[in-house]
Amino acid sequence: MSERVHTVVPAPRREAILSMLKRGERVDGRRADEYREVRVETGVVGNAEGSARVSIGHTKVIAGVKASPGSPFPDAPDKGIQIVYAELIPMASPIFEPGPPDENDVELARVVDRGLRSSSTVKLEELALVPGKHVWRIYIDIYPIDHDGNLIDASGLAAVAALLTSKIPKVSVSSNGSLVMEEERVPLPIGDAPVFVTIAKIGDTLVVDPCYEEELVMDARITFAIDREGNVCAIQKGGRGSFSADEVVKALDLALALAPELRSKLPPFPQ
């Protein structure tokens, strides 16, 4: 409900960052529209159906996918269930505190969830086992382990990479109606897949992929999830500041320009 963590940047440092930006320089030497180095590794957790470790600069996130049969929701009896969970564990940063998820954890999970849903990353309608009775529940658990800014993009990338490489057991239904898990595994049914691009507004400047120090001084951020055809499939504004309509469109254009580069880091679609 309130802002748990309010880490303050000393005013002179803030001034320095702002005046650097006016000269077109960022704290880590990047251009305004330059993304940090991105690495994506998949298959990192043997007990998961799919998993990925992603780094964006020093930011590191692990995501894992687990699938288990369960009952469908009453209002969608023929669809699988997708559950995205994210936890900002204190391992990842001194600003994260132990305890149950707060608004920051929840926002992160829900933004990733919306991007996945809007682009049908997991084709939930193909995940009924016995319609109305048994469906797959797909859990996507996201754990940042080192936080140097831009957790949304890193989390989104890790979630998508884990899903694209997930294999779930083939299931048959026995004569008495119970489920039989076979040895054979098949890829998750995948529709499209988004990449998430976050732009921070610092003073009058828009910069992509903010690092942690930039997040501390930014006025606001805006994230776009972009699908394969360049559609926007999720937007999320955050932070205490505002954007003009022009800035929103400019940020969107930055995101559209960067999306292909990020997409190239993803594993191939199954089949």
Partner: protein
């Protein structure tokens, strides 16, 4: 989200299920100063939505260690009453309510002169009494009236509207059924005078051009909501004025 599933949301003449045109707001009525205990309050009806907002503060921060040395702490809690939705909602805060409380707070903060009351807090309590789509933006519209009613110094009001996508077309102020069966929802809040966007979210799929168009449609709708906000505040002030002139004691 995600596909029409056989529900027709537009008739042959492009009218929506409730008869509205694509760029037409539902009927909106706002009342300021509806509660006695709160320092400021507002009530909004937007179509079938009914939302009550109370503002307390600026006041001391509890727990104290949350106080900020350089500015006011804004806190915001958005809740749906259990009976506000077709299936009873568990009273414990859902993940959706937790996220919405955050984005609503961040939609209001740009409009407030937070530096004016350092070490204090302002609490915004939003209770959705009845819900029919677009509650988050309606909450913002009402909350900024409640903040003004509480005398919190602001650089502008904030008003919000959602732009939906139904049968491939953008539509202003989508209601519950349009949200459920439409192809996308983009809630937008702005400071109407300054034209600054303080909230924007989206799900569904939108092209770049649709985003540009949605921003424009939202701006026009928000201008209308702004008139209703000002009307409500004026009515409240003239009510007080009458009471004062009529010799009644004002709280």
């Amino acid at each position: 989200m995600g596909g029409a599933e056989g529900v027709k949301l537009l008739d042959e003449e492009g009218r929506r299920l409730d008869g509205r045109a694509l760029n037409e707001l539902r009927k909106c009525r706002i009342e300021a100063g509806v509660l006695k205990n709160a320092n400021g309050s507002a009530y909004i009806e937007l179509g079938r939505n009914k939302i009550l907002v109370a503002v307390y503060g600026p006041r001391e921060v509890h727990p104290r260690h949350e106080a900020l040395p350089d500015r006011m702490l804004l806190r915001c809690k958005y809740s749906m009453l259990p009976f506000s939705v077709p299936d009873r909602k568990n009273p414990a805060p859902s993940r959706r309510e937790v996220e919405l409380s955050k984005v609503i707070r961040e939609a209001l903060e740009p409009a407030i002169f937070l530096e004016e009351y350092p070490r204090t807090t302002v609490d915004v309590y939003i209770e959705v009494i009845e819900a029919d789509g677009s509650t988050r933006v309606a909450s913002i519209t009402a909350a900024s009236v409640a903040l003004a009613d509480a005398g919190i110094p602001m650089r502008d009001l904030v008003a919000g509207v959602s732009v939906g996508k139904i049968e491939g077309k953008l539509a202003i102020d989508i209601n519950g059924i349009e949200d459920q069966y439409g192809e996308g929802d983009m809630p937008i809040a702005m400071m109407p005078r300054l034209g600054e966007i303080t909230l924007i979210q989206a799900d569904g799929r939108f092209t770049r051009d649709e985003v540009v168009q949605a921003l424009q449609m939202a701006r026009e709708a928000i201008a209308k909501l702004y008139e209703e906000q000002k009307r409500a505040l004026k009515e409240k002030y003239s009510r007080i004025l009458e009471e004062v002139e009529g010799g009644e004691v004002v709280r």
